[in-house]
Symmetry: C2
Subunit: 208 residues, 2 copies
DNA sequence: GTATGTTTCAAACAGTTGTTTAGATTTTGG
DNA sequence: CCAAAATCTAAACAACTGTTTGAAACATAC
């Protein structure tokens, strides 16, 4: 009968949105377990520690994301002629939007977490990402390199980080930005429309 | 004689770099007062509370910044012909670089703090900025509007936020990025060079 | 049924947090 | 030089943190 989510999932859901909204240190396990309506000790039982819970939240996102990105990247990798920059950037759209379909505010939660982790001390998270998800990043940049073959690799490095900043920052604040936009311009805007507005900006900057 | 900095300044210096590196909640008053080599209670004596200390750190930065920005904006406001987008964006360079001249890693500290504050819950910080520094933001956007008069205001809104994300994200991570760039490409890069690389990217995106 | 392994629970643990207090010390102004 | 104000200091405060514990409740298999 029990159509109640598993304790593990309830914890992950609560932790995800709380971490995204308040940050890791600012969110206590008691706040999480209260919202999830589970016992305090169950976090340590199921995940071992708070640190591991944080990683578990990331893993759930990243698995889904790279899986979707793989589907988008494959056909481009297969085609013989070089892709356009716009084409490569567009591989991000579906994977990003999908996060919000499965869970409310999923995309902005994901980007908020990435932004927070990125800002974390000592680049600890950057190293984790590099170790666990480097192959996917590499596949993406390889296609970008095919699209702009005569761009020096150090220039590529910088513009890639510029784009990363724009995406993370914009989507992390997308909830608030969408609200402001609707209030100020009386036009309802979706996350998808925002992404379609963002990509030309990125492409133009990248080709600057 | 005492050429020792005032207690207030010592606290502000320590708090600034610790907040930037670790975040607000992750930095305890004891860590701050230890680094500053002052008594624990002096934070509450001079600033009232931890929250007020955070605001004081911001205020010190923002005062310097808008003061320098004013100097850059004034001549453009005075000139009769419309400025170019590049010209308007370039008003940010000197104010941003100046932060690193007075204090080591000043610019990246400033951007890290902005990034953290921006991600904070409920847009509490966004409201504070809006209330206290809206006039300066307005002067900047007014010039940007002069540079691109036929850009719809809702488009302007989005591209402004895109640019904001790129700048904050890039400069917040500039320490690490500069290190990586030097290690990978054997070319020493300065913060100023990074900014000069960043502006064309922004201008191209803005005009996309 | 009982026995076995898994999950939940309330309670307590030791450590850290921001803030307050009251007394000592230093600085200021007449 | 002395009183008054400002500053510094060590100690204690209550509240909150992540984690551990051992017993209770539940599920599964024989």
């Amino acid at each position: 009968m029990s159509n109640r989510q598993s304790t593990k999932d309830r914890i992950l859901d609560a932790a995800e949105s709380l971490f995204a909204d308040r940050g890791f240190a600012e969110t206590s396990l008691r706040t999480i377990t209260n919202r999830a309506d589970v016992n305090l000790a169950s976090v340590n039982y199921h995940f071992g520690s708070k640190k591991s819970l944080i990683q578990a939240v990331f893993d759930r996102f990243l698995k889904k994301f790279v899986q979707a990105l793989d589907k988008e990247l494959a056909p481009i990798e297969a085609q013989s002629e070089s892709p356009t920059v716009e084409q490569v950037l567009h591989t991000l759209v579906t994977p990003l939007l999908q996060m919000s379909q499965v869970r409310n505010k999923g995309t902005s939660n994901f980007m908020k977490l990435l932004g927070r982790a990125y800002a974390e001390s000592q680049g600890h998270m950057r190293r984790f990402m590099q170790e666990h998800y480097a192959p996917y990043l590499l596949r993406f940049t390889r296609q970008l390199h095919r699209a702009a073959p005569n761009l020096a690799s150090n220039e590529m490095f910088w513009r890639l980080h510029f784009m990363l900043g724009t995406v993370i920052f914009t989507l992390a604040g997308s909830d608030a930005l969408l609200e402001i936009a609707e209030a100020d311009f009386k036009e309802s805007v979706t996350l998808e429309q925002t992404l379609e507005r963002l990509l030309p900006f990125l492409a133009a900057g990248f080709k600057s």
